[in-house]
Amino acid sequence: MLCEHANSRLVEYAEGVLDTDTQLEIKRHVEDCDTCQSDYAAIHQWRTMASHWHEESPPAQPHFMAVTHSNHYNWWDRLRHWFPTFASATALVLVTVMYAQQFQSAGVLPSNAATNYDSLPKLPQATQAAVVDSVLKTSRDQRQAELSTLLKILTAEMNRRSADTENSLRYIISTQIQGQKELDLLYGQLEVLLANPENTALLSTPHEGVPQ
C-alpha cells in the first residue's frame, strides 16, 4: 500500500472502522514506515489522553454573580455581565428608538421587527455602553419620555434578575431565553410606539398583569 493511502486513513485505522483487509494492509505498512508510525503514535496518544479526561461540572458559583452584587457597577454594567445577548439587543433597541424616525421611511426597521433584530447590524461589544450613553444624551431632547420609560423597565427587570439567587446553568439559560422573549415583546411595542409617538400608553412592562 502506498504511504499516502495508508497515512490518510490512520485515524480510521486507529478507530478500527475500516474493513478487515484494509486494516491488515495498513498495519503492514505502518510497521515499515517511520512517518506513519510516528503519526499513528500521536493519534493513539491523543485517543488515550481523551479517554483520560475526567468530566468537569459547570461552576456552581460563577464569577459574574459576584459582579452583580458589587456597588462599583451600575445597572448597565450588570446587564452586560449577566446578559450579553440581552445587552446587544437592548443597545439595538435604543439605537433604533434614536434613529427610527429619520430612517423609518428608508426601511431600517424590519417589517417583522419582533423576531428579526438579529438581522440588524451588530454593535461591537466594547462600544455598546458608549453608544447607549451617547444615544441617551442626544435623545433627551426629543424622546425623553419614551426613553425614561424604557430605562425604568430595563432597570426594574435587572433588579428583579439580580435579586434572584438561583444560578444553575439551566436556570440562567432559561432566564436568558425569557429575557429574549421579553425583548421581542418590548421591541414590538417600541415599533408601535414609534408609529404613534403621542400614545405612550402602548408601552407596558414585560410583566404587566403578573402578580408580584
Binding site: M49, P59, I173, Q176
Partner: protein
Amino acid sequence: MLATVTDETLVSRAIAGSDSAWNKLIKRYEKRVYNYALRMVGHPQDAFDLTQEVFMGVHRNLAGFRGDGAFPAWLFRIASYRCTDYLRRRRNDEPFDDERGFISSLPGPQEQAFTTHANHQISTALQQLPVEQRQVVELKFFQHFTFEDIAGQLGISPNTAKTRLYSALRKLKQHEELRDAL
C-alpha cells in the same frame, strides 16, 4: 427498564413550547457542551459563558433541526460556530504575531481550575493549537465524530478537516514540553 425519550421527541416538544422538554434537552447535553467549551477555551468562566451562548443558539435554531441526522452532530455545528465566534471576539484584544498568529495574552489554563492533573495537561496541550486545529482535534478525539460530520460542522471539506488534524498532531509532537503530557 424505562425507555428513554429520544432527542427528536424532546426537540419537537420543545418547539411546540414545552419548557420541561427543553430543560430535559439541556440537562442531557449541558455537561458535554460545558466540557467541550472548557477544552476549547481553557477557563471555567469562559466555558460557562460559551455554554450559555451555545444553548441560546440551539434554542433559537431549534426549528431548523430536521431530524435527518443525529441531534449531537447538529448541536455541535452550532457549538462550533459559537465557539469560533467567541474566540474571535476574545482574540480581538490579543496581540498578533506574523509567524505564530494570535498570541494569547491571558495566562494558560490554571491547574486549580481542573479536578485532575490529566485534565490540566490536556487543556494546556489544546491551547497550544490554533483554533481551527483545536476544533478538529476536539471533535475527532473527544466527540468521536466522523470526518464527514466534522466537515459539516465546520463548513469545510472532509479532506481539509483531516489535513488540520494531521497538522495539529505534528505541531504537538514538536512541542517538547508537551511530550510528557502526550
